[in-house]
Symmetry: C2
Subunit: 435 residues, 2 copies
């Protein structure tokens, strides 16, 4: 028979079971952390009508999208979890309670040019809080609290949650009357860390900004100091722009409540250069960095938006949310060997029979499983060496051996695969040790 070559598409992550165990643990920790803050689960389809998904899109997104016909329908695969949320909230508005706090963890699709560390299928882990017409600014302070606890759950201690408010930048542009160039300026500012101060100035000059205006921009984005010093420095600029002053008030309120949420000053900072590119954010914005692995980029980002679903409804639905790109994060942590210690096997015990009749082995496994101990019986007729090799390869921590002697004495022999120690015990004693 002609064989087809089995292969996986480039840009699609496919893990071996041992890595998958780690990946799933991260996913479950994120989910559990989100649930501790009372976020509700939703699970929208991966396929949607193309016109629904693309109501808001354009440019890059449209080029990257997986879009196809099925029968008479023009379909597409979701490219994020925000558009499906907007759809969902509009569709089920009357059945939902607001503020609507939802999490969604699922795969999204972008047909990017494949390159190392970029994926075409990847998990996003999103939380959002959607208000009905209005949403208290304290919600903007709860987001860093969720980030803080989630990143800690994942095993990281040294990280920084960076916050800014887009209104400060927008207000600055109003103040120096360069609103029409704001998108370009923001894009340049966003690169400060990457290209350095001199290059930022050069790029701004290319936009034909007057020197004095460039000076004001640089003064603004170069404000240094501790959080309260920065807030004071912003105050001291004495800008008259209403947008600017609103942004400043919001940022101060967020900082105040972030502290009340119990986040230490060492774990967050105000970073005036964060603009979150061309995204649809209108107020608070967030980026989160693992300080030992800055090269990964932001591991959790998001922000406040005035209007979630304006393409679907006239209702005003302001919201705030953040997202973890889990597939990329996992890939990078794995590459940097920065994965946190974790359980490596599913089964905690492998039961091995030295006699042909596997009755006792099966009975022992059934007893352990009733005690909620994940257990596997080795059922194949192989040499004892092969059986231990199997446990070894799967990193199963305990092997229970049942031979003639154990059968006669109603005992089992328990081998600790890490230490190599083994002892003959009653099943009761064995269960105690394993637990």
């Amino acid at each position: 028979m002609n064989k087809v070559e089995p292969r996986t598409l480039p840009g699609f992550m496919e893990l071996l079971p041992k890595e998958q165990i780690l990946f799933n643990q991260m996913k479950e920790k994120i989910q559990k952390s989100y649930e501790r803050f009372g976020f509700l689960p939703i699970d929208t389809p991966i396929i949607e009508m193309a016109d629904v998904l693309l109501a808001k899109a354009g440019g890059e997104t449209e080029k990257q999208i997986y879009r196809f016909q099925k029968g008479e329908n023009d379909l597409a695969l979701r490219f994020d979890l925000t558009v499906p949320l907007a759809k969902y909230v509009t569709q089920y508005y009357n059945e939902l309670s607001f503020p609507f706090r939802r999490y969604q963890i699922g795969k999204v699709y972008r047909g990017e040019r494949p390159q190392k560390g970029r994926f075409r299928e990847f998990y996003q882990c999103d939380i959002d809080i959607i208000g009905d017409n209005e949403l208290n600014i304290i919600n903007d302070a709860e987001m860093p609290s969720v980030i803080y606890h989630t990143i800690k759950e994942l095993g990281f201690e040294d990280f920084t949650i960076c916050m800014n408010n887009r209104k400060l930048l927008t207000g600055l542009f109003e103040e120096i009357q360069v609103e029409e160039k704001s998108v370009d300026i923001m894009r340049i500012i966003d690169k400060l860390e990457k290209i350095g101060k001199e290059n930022v100035i050069a790029c701004l000059k290319d936009l034909e900004l007057e020197d004095e205006k460039i000076k004001k921009i640089m003064q603004f984005i170069e404000i240094e100091g501790a959080t309260d010093e920065k807030l004071q420095a912003l105050e001291n600029l004495n800008f008259t722009s209403e947008t600017f002053n609103q942004g400043l008030q919001e940022l101060k309120e967020v900082v105040k409540y972030v502290r009340i949420f119990g986040i230490p000053d060492s774990k967050f900072k105000v970073d005036l250069t964060i603009a979150r590119g061309l995204d649809y954010y209108t107020g608070t914005v967030y980026e989160t960095f693992l300080n030992d692995y800055r090269e990964i980029g932001s591991v959790c980002s998001g922000g406040r938006y005035d209007n979630l679903a304006e393409y679907y409804t006239d209702r005003k639905l302001p919201g705030v949310g953040v997202s973890i790109g889990l597939t990329r994060l996992f890939y990078k942590l794995n590459e940097l060997q920065a994965m946190q210690e974790a359980q490596k096997s599913i089964a905690k015990v492998l039961v091995v029979s030295m006699v042909d009749d596997k009755t006792k082995a099966v009975e022992v496994a059934t007893t352990l499983r009733k005690q909620e101990i994940p257990t596997e019986v080795y059922l194949e007729d192989k040499k004892i060496k092969a059986k231990f090799k199997y446990a070894d390869k799967l990193e199963i921590p305990y092997v229970i051996v049942i031979g003639e002697e154990e059968l006669q004495n109603n005992t089992v022999t328990l081998k600790n695969m890490e230490t190599g120690e083994q002892e003959t015990l009653t099943l009761e004693e064995t269960i105690k040790i394993i637990k």
Copy 2:
């Protein structure tokens, strides 16, 4: 602005949060049960190369598949989790340990004609054990054990796991020399329960089978009695077909070990009519019915196959597995109001502030969350009635109220939303009650 109408494709299940919580609980129970048997997780892409996915397919499957071009690639969405498993095992053969025990829970896609209770996107929850060249028959007895514990985990007590062996039917056809009509005959037999004995005989006559042959078929499928009586009756047929006798030996061995795995006789039976249609099974086959909800059909089916990946490799990879179609099962249970009692909210507590400053409310929530109690703070400035209505709609079991008095006395007022009782307590006492 022109609005796009937000809508979900027909045949795609989209749940409200309260239903989603129930759905996720079922999914997690299944996962936990699979893990207790030591199955390893894998997570293959939803998109694959069309030639890889369709290597084995044909007929109905090809018509239903979501297939499309992206750039130069001919792609398709997976329509089950078995083909991706075959691909995976072949691809990573050298890195896997055999027997390879894997579970996968994920969405699959079939563009069926939409009708009530049929879905185009649905979750399958699969386990399979793949042997390298051979696989002990005891594995066939472990499957019912996994089914038994999983269905019990889902909260059902009254169910029957039906088992058969395809070799019995194949052997019967050899015995009466009607092999060339076996596919048609099996299809008819499979309908016994639906269409009744007389119609089965009529259909068999339409195949131009001689009366004596029809008699033998009916004798076979009408064997009645308890499990051991059935096995004895099969023995008594004294068929000479080797296939038949091999099937009988296998079935006897499976029954023997199913009992050793601790499954009571009341929960399984030998059902000689089960053929699993045109599937690729070659030995043991399973179907599972909830006795109070027979109309749902089999909720967990599967079987033994000689060769998992013959379209990809010359290696012989025999396996045995079962699958739960979770989306359909959930839909049907919901429709029949047969869903088992379960937690209905994510948050266990809603913290509500009666004073403008929400500092204390946030602090209380942070304390509860540290105690792993899922907690939400109501942050919007609404009337107290609206806040309680919110807790009520989301079925959050406890509300903690913080007013002037509580602030002064460093207490909180805890309201049990089910009983309506409320008392003023220290935070410590409150945590104890909630836990």
